[in-house]
Symmetry: C2
Subunit: 211 residues, 2 copies
């Protein structure tokens, strides 16, 4: 096993280092975030930084890169308070990845990459019609991370659109059956295969495999 | 496709709702975080909330639950500034999950679940010897999230231990080959299967599948 110090990694070529560091933190859920600006102009962008913050209240966070690199999604969320998070599946993963291109602000990524917006009553932000599991959020807070000019965007889940048949008897959602994808590094996308589900762990009990 | 409002979800039984909301945000990377308190007493706990914050500087975040629910890891990090993040693989996933049990503070989870601590020079926090990819961090900042009493713990990567053969020519790490796992909900663990890698997306180019 090799030991790399960060001083060594810092000397590596920029894209090599970015791939390496992005992979090191592991697989992430692959999502498309849908927003509109105040004029109703849609924006769609792929994000790999969605993180669960809590289930009661149901809060979800995501990391937005610095404003200079990725201004549209966060500015739209600040302006309207509304956004959608849409799982990515193999049937449209190429289109999803293409939303990472730096389109000018006036370009509607739904049209540019070929995905269908879906609107529901009382929500101005568009869902991705093709996504099998998706939810809408109301902005709660944008927390600036001063060390690298990124932002933790915190939202409360308001509406969920999905097939009810994906929900198990205990509330568990079969994302494997839905083929919700994970991403790795800057450009790789994976499906998953269940290895095990376990019981609620207690100090004095043996580990129980439930599935 | 069914539309659930959060008002409906809020009426669901607590564990059913927790499973549902935890699954909704998607797959997460499955990691063990190793720490010690000021007396050198080790702690090891499974976390599914590691998030990439940036590659230069190389910053990683994770969400720590409220202090009343999960005090040991965050208190050790506050006390010592040092921690390790260790990928989880199928060969010890049951042991990794078992660290989620609420052991008393004096219990060393390495011993309780049967994993080996690994120490390197100039670092007081233990790695998990069995983990194929692992890295040590220095605390940068703990950001309180006031809406649900959780914390975003931000650290800078300092040392990386892994097999060099897992690193590709472009810096990409084959976590699929390493069988680094993803988790879902509260208790499910998965391996992954590559679907595609794409080129760097540009507005005027067709999506290119590189792998």
């Amino acid at each position: 096993m090799r030991h790399f110090s960060i001083d060594t990694v810092s000397t590596w070529e920029r894209f090599y280092r970015a791939n390496f560091i992005n992979c090191l933190s592991g697989f992430k859920s692959a999502n498309l975030i849908g927003t509109v600006n105040k004029e109703g102009q849609p924006n769609l962008a792929v994000f790999s930084s969605v993180v669960h913050l809590g289930s009661d209240p149901a809060l979800i966070g995501f990391i937005n890169r610095p404003l200079a690199a990725a201004p549209h999604t966060i500015q739209n969320i600040e302006a309207t308070g509304a956004y959608t998070i849409n799982h990515i599946h193999p049937s449209f993963v190429a289109e999803a990845h293409q939303t990472s291109a730096k389109y000018p602000v006036e370009v509607n990524e739904f049209e540019a990459v070929g995905l269908k917006p879906l609107y529901i009553d009382n929500l101005i932000a568009p869902f991705v019609a093709e996504s099998i599991i998706k939810y809408a959020l109301q902005l709660v807070e944008i927390v600036p991370i001063k060390h690298n000019n990124t932002f933790l965007v915190i939202g409360a889940i308001k509406d969920i659109l999905m097939e009810e048949t994906l929900i198990g008897v205990d509330g568990f959602i079969s994302l494997e059956k839905a083929e919700s994808m994970v991403s790795l590094g800057l450009d790789a996308y994976f499906t998953t295969k269940l290895v095990a589900r376990y019981g609620y762990a207690k100090p004095d009990s043996t580990i129980i495999k439930t599935d």
